[in-house]
């Protein structure tokens, strides 16, 4: 399965410009015979939306959703946007479009609301991590902060995902002499997920600057055996085609059967005995 990583620079709060940007990238991915194109978190809207959240929100019957549905007859697409549900709750969401329909919608569960982040001021939190079939391969989507928690990884792992796709808007910050905090955190996380959950892991981050904050790009793909299979430049717009296979997961689980030996009963017992669940 060939995946086109689209490391773009969205326009803040301008849906129509971003739709054009997506169309160009999708065409580029089709030309390169990719099966799926993955865009970063909130790729259709930009990140620091604040009061624009409600203006750029998409309902499931919106023209933009229909456009992506129909385009997905030619290629699978993962794109990020603000989703407004029937009760007018607004979610930081990522949709997977395949074969003419919105096949799966993930609502971001863990909304960062500290230091420079204020997501739970504007968004409702999703409540679940559910897998979907991506051209026959069981897959889960994590939106940025989702991937930094244990419960999300655990729940996806228990459901037997073969691939985890992390779409992100990670800002560059915390510079030291030989590294910077956000890159180190993310690369450690991605390598951990790939190696220890034995799943193909693809991190798609955006670039560009919003109000002085630089999104650092550096999108990275690590296969289930822990090998790097592709990465994008730091700071600049870029793209990369990577190929993932279920077979890699099989080989990895023969080599390192962590998945087989994981015992959810221990976890369940712990929660019961400590009175966390009555």
């Amino acid at each position: 399965m060939k995946i086109y990583i689209s490391q773009i620079k969205p326009f803040l709060g301008d849906l129509s410009k971003n739709i054009e940007l997506h169309k160009n990238e999708i065409q580029h991915a089709i030309d390169q015979k990719a099966d799926i194109v993955i865009f970063p978190e909130l790729s259709l809207t930009g990140y620091f939306l604040r009061d624009l959240v409600h203006d750029v929100a998409l309902k499931s019957n919106s023209e933009t959703i229909k456009l992506f549905e129909s385009t997905s007859k030619r290629i699978g697409i993962i794109a990020g946007f603000v989703y407004e549900d029937e009760n007018h709750q607004f979610f930081n969401a990522a949709g997977y479009f395949e074969a003419g329909s919105l096949k799966h919608l993930h609502r971001k569960v863990y909304l960062p609301n500290y230091t420079m982040f204020e997501e739970s001021r504007y968004f409702a939190a999703g409540k679940s991590f559910e897998t979907f079939d991506m051209f026959g391969s069981k897959t889960g989507i994590l939106i940025c902060e989702d991937a930094l928690h244990l419960s999300s990884l655990y729940l996806y792992s228990l459901q037997g995902v073969k691939n985890l796709l992390i779409v992100s808007n990670s800002p560059a910050r915390g510079f030291y002499s030989d590294r910077f905090y956000s890159q180190e955190l993310w690369y450690n996380t991605i390598k951990f997920i790939a190696n220890n959950l034995t799943v193909n892991t693809i991190f798609v981050n955006r670039v560009g600057v919003e109000d002085g904050v630089t999104f650092w790009g550096g999108s990275l793909a690590i296969d289930a055996l822990g090998s790097e299979i592709g990465r994008c430049d730091l700071i600049r717009e870029d793209n990369r085609i990577v190929e993932i296979k279920d077979e890699t997961v099989r080989r990895s689980r023969i080599l390192s059967p962590f998945y087989r030996d994981e015992d959810p009963e221990l976890f369940l017992e712990f929660i019961r005995n400590k009175g966390i669940i009555k």
């Binding site: 803040l12 709060g13 604040r50 560059a172 510079f175 109000d211 002085g212 730091l234």
Partner: protein
């Protein structure tokens, strides 16, 4: 406090380019004082948008030192910066005379604000944004003139301490002469920042880094060897100058008050 200056330069150059061009402007104006902060901002800007799109101005007053102007020229020569000199004395003096102004601090503020007026006028002439040159140390300490040298549209160096400004300047090949000389606002003869502040940048940057960036408590700072008096003095300066780092506060009446519950990023729509 040591940084990967290659990466930091990359981020700042990209910041200047994007934050300038996405608003539809192509050009920048900057005041070159001869000091290291404006030198660094200007050099980053030439890398971001090209030297032909940066308009730099030396804005000396009659008491400004000749060395400052020479240093501005030295920098402009080395980096091919388009530098124009506009003497502000002919329009500062009538102002001072009209108001019978002879207080050093007020005079200094008037000069800083006249330079601001000049730069913003030039920004209109050249269809440019005004590039900021205030570093993190002076922003935290409030060591600058409100609506004077603190006024700008975008500031690439406001999250770098003075000592980091020096290091990044070395990395970018800015002449040692500008890096090694004593920092001065050059508002009156013989003025230096460190005399006026009462401590050195090296000392205060180390303190601010631990206090602000690392969020250490007073007792932890004392354990690192800082005197309690120094800690309290600097903490109080940071607190007292919060107003200089903000827009004017607005009395709330409606449900949507600007900046309180009318909240948009500046890059709205770009």
């Amino acid at each position: 406090m040591n940084l990967n200056y290659k990466m930091v330069a990359d981020v700042l150059v990209n910041f200047i380019k994007e934050e300038t061009e996405k608003t539809g402007f192509a050009n920048l104006v900057v005041g070159l004082s001869g000091g290291i902060d404006s030198a660094l901002s200007a050099v980053l800007a030439t890398k971001a948008i090209g030297r032909d799109k940066l308009f730099a101005f030396a804005l000396p007053y009659k008491t400004s030192s000749k060395e400052s102007l020479d240093d501005a020229k030295l920098l402009a020569d080395k980096f091919g910066i388009n530098l124009q000199v506009i003497e502000i004395t002919p329009y500062v003096d009538p102002f001072l005379e009209t108001l019978n102004l002879d207080n050093k601090l007020r005079m200094g503020n008037v000069m800083a604000r006249m330079r601001m007026v000049t730069l913003f006028d030039m920004s209109s002439k050249y269809r440019a944004l005004v590039l900021g040159t205030s570093n993190k140390t002076e922003l935290l300490l409030g060591y600058g003139t409100w609506y004077g040298d603190l006024a700008s549209a975008i500031n690439p160096i406001g999250d770098l301490y003075k000592t980091q400004v020096w290091e990044l300047s070395k990395y970018l090949g800015i002449p040692e002469k500008l890096i090694n000389k004593k920092p001065t606002a050059d508002l009156w003869l013989g003025q230096t920042d460190e005399d006026e502040l009462g401590f050195s940048y090296t000392e205060v940057d180390r303190l601010l880094y631990h206090m602000i960036d690392e969020r250490l408590s007073k007792s932890e700072l004392i354990n690192l060897g800082f005197s309690e008096q120094f800690i309290m003095n600097v903490a109080e300066r940071v607190r007292k100058n919060q107003f200089k780092r903000q827009l004017p506060i607005i009395a709330k009446i409606s449900n949507r008050t600007i900046d309180r519950d009318f909240r948009y990023s500046r890059d709205w729509g770009y």
